[in-house]
Symmetry: D2
Subunit: 352 residues, 4 copies
Amino acid sequence: MQLGMIGLGRMGGNIVRRLMADGHECVVYDVSAEAVDTLAKEGATGIHDIADFVSKLQAPRAVWLMIPAGITGKVVDQVAAVLEPGDIIIDGGNSNYRDDVRRAAKLTESGIHYVDVGTSGGVFGLERGYCLMVGGPDEAFTRIEPLLRTIAPGPGEIPRTPGRTGDLTPEERGYLHCGPSGAGHFVKMVHNGIEYGIMASLAEGLNILENADAGVREAEHSAEVAPLEEPEFYQFTIDTPAVSELWRRGSVISSWLLDLTAAALAQNPTLDGLAGRVSDSGEGRWTVKAAVDVGVPVPVLAASLFERFASRGEDHYANQLLSAMRLQFGGHQELPSGDVLEAGGRKAESQP
Amino acid sequence: MQLGMIGLGRMGGNIVRRLMADGHECVVYDVSAEAVDTLAKEGATGIHDIADFVSKLQAPRAVWLMIPAGITGKVVDQVAAVLEPGDIIIDGGNSNYRDDVRRAAKLTESGIHYVDVGTSGGVFGLERGYCLMVGGPDEAFTRIEPLLRTIAPGPGEIPRTPGRTGDLTPEERGYLHCGPSGAGHFVKMVHNGIEYGIMASLAEGLNILENADAGVREAEHSAEVAPLEEPEFYQFTIDTPAVSELWRRGSVISSWLLDLTAAALAQNPTLDGLAGRVSDSGEGRWTVKAAVDVGVPVPVLAASLFERFASRGEDHYANQLLSAMRLQFGGHQELPSGDVLEAGGRKAESQP
Amino acid sequence: MQLGMIGLGRMGGNIVRRLMADGHECVVYDVSAEAVDTLAKEGATGIHDIADFVSKLQAPRAVWLMIPAGITGKVVDQVAAVLEPGDIIIDGGNSNYRDDVRRAAKLTESGIHYVDVGTSGGVFGLERGYCLMVGGPDEAFTRIEPLLRTIAPGPGEIPRTPGRTGDLTPEERGYLHCGPSGAGHFVKMVHNGIEYGIMASLAEGLNILENADAGVREAEHSAEVAPLEEPEFYQFTIDTPAVSELWRRGSVISSWLLDLTAAALAQNPTLDGLAGRVSDSGEGRWTVKAAVDVGVPVPVLAASLFERFASRGEDHYANQLLSAMRLQFGGHQELPSGDVLEAGGRKAESQP
Amino acid sequence: MQLGMIGLGRMGGNIVRRLMADGHECVVYDVSAEAVDTLAKEGATGIHDIADFVSKLQAPRAVWLMIPAGITGKVVDQVAAVLEPGDIIIDGGNSNYRDDVRRAAKLTESGIHYVDVGTSGGVFGLERGYCLMVGGPDEAFTRIEPLLRTIAPGPGEIPRTPGRTGDLTPEERGYLHCGPSGAGHFVKMVHNGIEYGIMASLAEGLNILENADAGVREAEHSAEVAPLEEPEFYQFTIDTPAVSELWRRGSVISSWLLDLTAAALAQNPTLDGLAGRVSDSGEGRWTVKAAVDVGVPVPVLAASLFERFASRGEDHYANQLLSAMRLQFGGHQELPSGDVLEAGGRKAESQP
């Protein structure tokens, strides 16, 4: 069937390619004429004005937006202005599901359907297909289902889940109608929240392995921290790149994120050039806020988010305060006389 | 080559089967004569006295223990008593790596090698192979490497990690010599710590989805908790079994633990009969304690452990104390007069 | 000076008493005529219609609302409808500071000042005074400062902070102009977030003490959890009521919340009748959401909030999922044959 | 009564002063002759050889050690070598309670009593008295109780806890016999664990206030992190030194640690010169490990410990790994063509 695509960055472009390879017809637009021309050469109908979607697509139309969340609102308005009742606007980007709820309510007044699609897959999506979490009215979902089935990975070589029988369900093909407008991005939001937790689990664990030689390094130990109590048990120099590769085979924690970790460590075993200032996008934050709203405890997901904040130094003022309080315990920083036998091993302060 | 196996439970028995299928020769022992006989029928040499390992195996011997951690120390002593210098004892159970360090030091005096093997794989190991994390002296590792290679999954159909070239390394075959005695169980311990974190990430995320209908249920809302502020954004009834299946295909969080989650929800969509009292074995605890020892922050792994404690009611006294403090704020539980306009919406107490 | 007070629950009533005792004149209203009459007998001017504030107070007027957050918006509208430009509405309840920002912007159009006052003090406020965190325009703050000074605790017997000299500042008298409208409740919100963290710190610590006899109870230990490894170090039966009292004197953690804990345990040493389902009001949630918004890591404050959620069973579905995943590891719940020597000490499952 | 004191650092010296002021007789020793001479001038009997305790103290003797935990074992041995059956050794330092349990068992063989005293009070102890948590045999506790009563703060001006009547108990005087040997340091350990949690609660909360102007600073916002969604709600420039002072009066979170915070901010409002690398001593770590051992969930206490680790960069490797995984999502760091309309607002990567 026909689809209009707005936004031909890596993901938008690859979705178009996947659709065309399966026989669908794509009309494509991007602010970059070059991006449009590239896809046009590959078989798409390129347009340079959003208004042209009306003439190039047959009603009822479906237009997919694959653009930054920050400009989605504006572009939805532009597209809605040229579409007609019965047409469908699909937001495949990383919108906050709350915006979906608001936009759907507004578009309903003009008879246009709004479908939100949380899309996961990264750079491997062209080949593997994209996992699609869909929200919107039943009618609109049903109409675009042929497109979704193509974009999704399909059952692939992944073994069927024990206990499932009969015809393959949509979720076994990699797409799912999760509920009304907003439900798709809601599920995608939580998906990313989980992603943060899994990433942090792997990173924390490997950090322990990296420091399993603490007993060897104990000699250079600073007085700043508590001494390692049983250095004889921390004498291991672990090859973390090898371990991350090992765990890919047969272990309980084998996962795509572990695959990425192994790849990262294979390509850069000492992680040179990485400052360790970890970015976060909105979904991890929205996940924690949604959990707080509905009263669901998410200590793990929240901790993984806060670790990222701290990695960028956002804990600095708090840490300064902690040091300042500690200074107050001891009154003065100067070493007291008789410090060789000062209590508690903390020479610059008294015992709290 | 030859291997003696002590402990023919599910894992010990299946490791023997995997070894025999690849042409190795196994001498097997268990306290259950029935378990010995079963394996003997499948081709193993069954013995009913640990002392017989000496006559049935050619020196230098290798004996693998696949038994509960609680009795490993005693059985190691029994086996060591009948072995000779140059022989190898392999502990494939879930021992604390600290016990490995102590046992290896002790056995070294009598010339017996001690190898610890952290083994992951669960019930699927017979077919998939077991991921093996090995600690011990180089010489002993090299000698038993043919066995390890058979027990491990091998490269299988898992795509090679980008950036890796040349001959396959041991870790690409699913086993790794991680370091001296104790290193194997140390790596396995951290592996399980990570497992707790990943499991918790999935469980917390799905719990948010399960409660995405909080706005629908708001009417029955109790006065006990803060009211849901924007119920219009929590109107989704999410099919969590379907979502867990969906994420198996093409999503960033696809993983073996997600496969298990999808299987559990396919077989028991409403989780009937599960009280939600989550057990923990030693490794998760040891992981947190090791992290504390070496000064590595593990907020995510620790939170996942503490959630399990709390699931069993171990937070009860703390929670009673919190309620008791809250009562003190308000002096009395009785509603004050004028309560309709009492401040802050908390009628049983004043504002803290 | 004159003040109108709406809401004569415990806090509103006591604030009126504190004001009258210092010579201020109060006009009081409540939906409960009885509450109005009680205060009238103590010297206040009682009214039974909000509209009477106009005639009973001289312009420019100041009306303080001490009512549940849930109805504040409605009452603000009622009061604003009868006030005049230049008058001041003060919200002393537990409103979300976001509502303050919105209300202030709206009232500004009609020339009415809006002041938000975060009020802390609990049942002891009548005697001790209330800590006041104030947001609003400079002019309005200055005008009501005489009232604030009376309601606040004053310097009292609390020793002056080392490093402070000269005249007492407002904050040393227990009230502070924190910034424009919303700033007062923002500071109060964070104050309550901190309160959650301190309460949880005390509760968790005392829970450890309560379980310091785990080694004694080890005999009754269930197979469900990891065995206690060194029971000889957990042989203490600690008298937690006595310890909480002890810490009130000379220790670093002496605090008002510890005083409350000691009082609770003195009155009910075994915490009889407390189910341990801990409520939370909005501020703890708003604090975490604000921290997430501005990117500040608050693992401690968030954990203290999530503990409360979990205490009410909001973690149930997550815990069921964890148990369900663990079941999948082992395939079947039945004990395997040879289970006496089953690996890892976990008989109902294989090793993950 | 008589007491021998070893270790005349700030705490040991001040305890001696407090004892002498109340009429007790002190024999003092330190490796620093100067420290001994200083106390001797103030009325103590100075000795320069530990062996002299035998002649200078009448049997049964009591010798208090106020020395660094690292050398306590050695000094206990030295002292025990010269004492006689029936004498008492008191460890007032910051020992791990496990060492107490071991030392007490060993000393029992030679008839010497061992008493462990967890001591809290910091630099203010000379004046305020020290909070004393005591472990050891009943007989020894009873014998030294007169000393403990003098060292402790006594009831002071702290209001009696509601619900307590009759004679003052020891805990109301600031000392408590918590149980057998080790119980004193166990309670002190947990006390310090709680201290970490309270400190972190204050620091995290004030960090939110410090960043309440995030909406003002939004213009300089980096693309690295999620944009602030509602900058209009984060327009406050909060005076954190003033707020910390304010909360000392009448608020629920008033506490000695808040007093210290206010003092620190009064003396150094911008926290100049503090790098925010927060030290930790052993007790916080031991607390978490003890909680893990006995299965008590302590997410708040653990998070406060891990924040300190992270403040010193111990999270670096984990953070590098997270950044490395994120890079893998996107394949390449270069911006894709068509990036203006790239999905999700994250130009350097695809959508996970």
